[in-house]
């Protein structure tokens, strides 16, 4: 339990620093940045306390916002992603997810991809909608959501593969 707690705290801190110091400065093709810090929300223990999870997601988003001077857009996006996660888990992995301690690394690729993709798309859509804050830019919002999501999903899959521990 303690090692789980420690690894989650470490993940939180490392992802925030990675995001604000490196990933926010990529600006691929002018504006496409990956938002890899969503990984914290994706990997948070499935059986954990939901209220604490919501609060931690808010904290994660607001930490990024403080660095980025963006008000509360990341916090709001993280909250939405965290709030729908239980439903999404049921959708992607079937009803069995809360009965047994499944690990993301051991799930079938299709289910994993749908879980990550929907979470990332949702998070990015809320993020960019709040950033633009106007319906006149709906096309730009969708464009940014799409390209950044592709980038984020690829990076997420890569880091999951890189840092997955193999259990037999």
């Amino acid at each position: 339990m303690n090692s789980k707690l420690f690894s989650n705290i470490a993940r939180f801190v490392i992802l925030v620093f990675l995001q604000v110091l490196i990933l926010n400065n990529i600006n691929f093709a002018g504006y496409v940045n990956p938002y890899l810090y969503v990984l914290f929300i994706l990997l948070y223990p499935f059986a954990g306390n939901q209220s604490l999870f919501l609060f931690l997601s808010f904290l994660l988003g607001i930490s990024i916002d403080v660095f980025e001077d963006s008000g509360g857009i990341n916090a709001a996006a993280c909250l939405v992603a965290a709030f729908v996660r239980p439903n999404l888990l049921r959708f992607s992995f079937g009803i069995s997810y809360d009965h047994q301690n499944i690990r993301l690394a051991n799930t079938p690729f299709g289910a994993k991809l749908s879980y990550i993709l929907i979470m990332v798309l949702l998070h990015h859509f809320v993020l960019f909608s709040l950033e633009m804050f106007s319906l006149n830019h709906i096309l730009l919002i969708l464009k940014k959501t799409l390209f950044s999501s592709i980038f984020t999903v690829i990076l997420t899959l890569l880091s999951l593969t890189l840092f997955s521990k193999k259990y037999r």
């Binding site: 008000g71 909250l79 939405v80 730009l140």
Partner: protein, 275 residues
């Protein structure tokens, strides 16, 4: 009563979610209104510390380029000095040193710079302790950067000209037609000058400078050159695309400008308005 408690406990996650969501939307709206973003900004000691630590490394990698810029600026300044000795009339030069009135310059380093979003900010490694206050102008030797909007003891946050809320008075260098400098959020090297009257004679490549109607920037600082221009829907005002002299994606050291007479001028304007 029991039922109310049961309801609250059953829905505690949804209530927590709604509460935190309202908080973050509130912060977002605050951030969208000029000068009201009091709560969340990168001008605090934690983010400032992290950013200045990372910019120490980053600055080191760009030393060559910064040296070159310094050389260029020294060269320009030396030219002006020799001109002053040569002739009595000092010609108006397009340089950050040509201004009228009392302005105080301070140096600072940019420790964080955004340019990919719609609303971009910069963070400087100087704050109130170094005499920096709100509404001071920020420039480089090549052009303007933005306006200070939040200060704490050691760091300050600057609203970049690449921000949807930034409006800076600017004019043509050869005539006095002026307009407002805004940004459409697309290209970090191109900004727009709007509300320039149709009568203004425009040519591609003409220089745009800061206007004298703002109390923040001295008149005559270079901003950029005209890339192209179109008439707006009413057919009476130009919208001009301006290529910035500054590379907004790579700003190392900046000057923060204080208008010494600003308070006096504002006081005068206020008394005039009251009467």
């Amino acid at each position: 009563m029991q039922q109310i408690f049961n309801f609250l406990i059953r829905n505690k996650n949804s209530i927590l979610f709604l509460f935190l969501f309202v908080v973050s939307v509130f912060l977002t709206i605050q951030n969208h209104s000029f000068h009201k973003s009091r709560f969340v900004s990168s001008a605090n000691s934690i983010t400032g510390g992290v950013y200045s630590w990372s910019s120490n490394i980053n600055t080191y990698l760009h030393l060559d380029e910064y040296n070159e810029r310094l050389l260029e600026e020294n060269n320009k300044l030396r030219n002006i000095i020799s001109n002053i000795n040569d002739s009595i009339s000092v010609e108006k030069q397009l340089d950050s040193t040509s201004f009228e009135g009392d302005y105080l310059f301070r140096t600072a380093r940019v420790i964080n710079n955004n340019f990919a979003k719609i609303d971009n900010y910069l963070t400087l490694n100087r704050g109130e302790n170094s005499g920096i206050k709100q509404e001071y102008g920020v420039i480089t030797s090549q052009g303007i950067v933005g306006i200070v909007d939040r200060v704490n003891n050691e760091y300050s946050r600057v609203i970049s000209i690449l921000n949807s809320r930034s409006r800076i008075n600017a004019q043509l260098s050869n005539t006095n037609h002026f307009g407002s400098l805004v940004w459409d959020g697309k290209n970090p090297n191109i900004v727009q000058l709007i509300d320039v009257p149709r009568q203004a004679p425009l040519k591609k490549g003409d220089t745009i400078i800061t206007g004298g109607r703002s109390l923040i920037f001295p008149e005559g600082l270079p901003i950029g050159s005209i890339k192209d221009f179109t008439l707006d829907q009413t057919q009476s005002y130009y919208t001009i695309n301006i290529k910035l002299f500054n590379d907004m994606t790579n700003i190392g050291y900046v000057y923060v400008i204080e208008n010494v007479n600003k308070d006096a001028i504002e006081e005068l304007q206020d008394t005039t308005n009251e009467q």
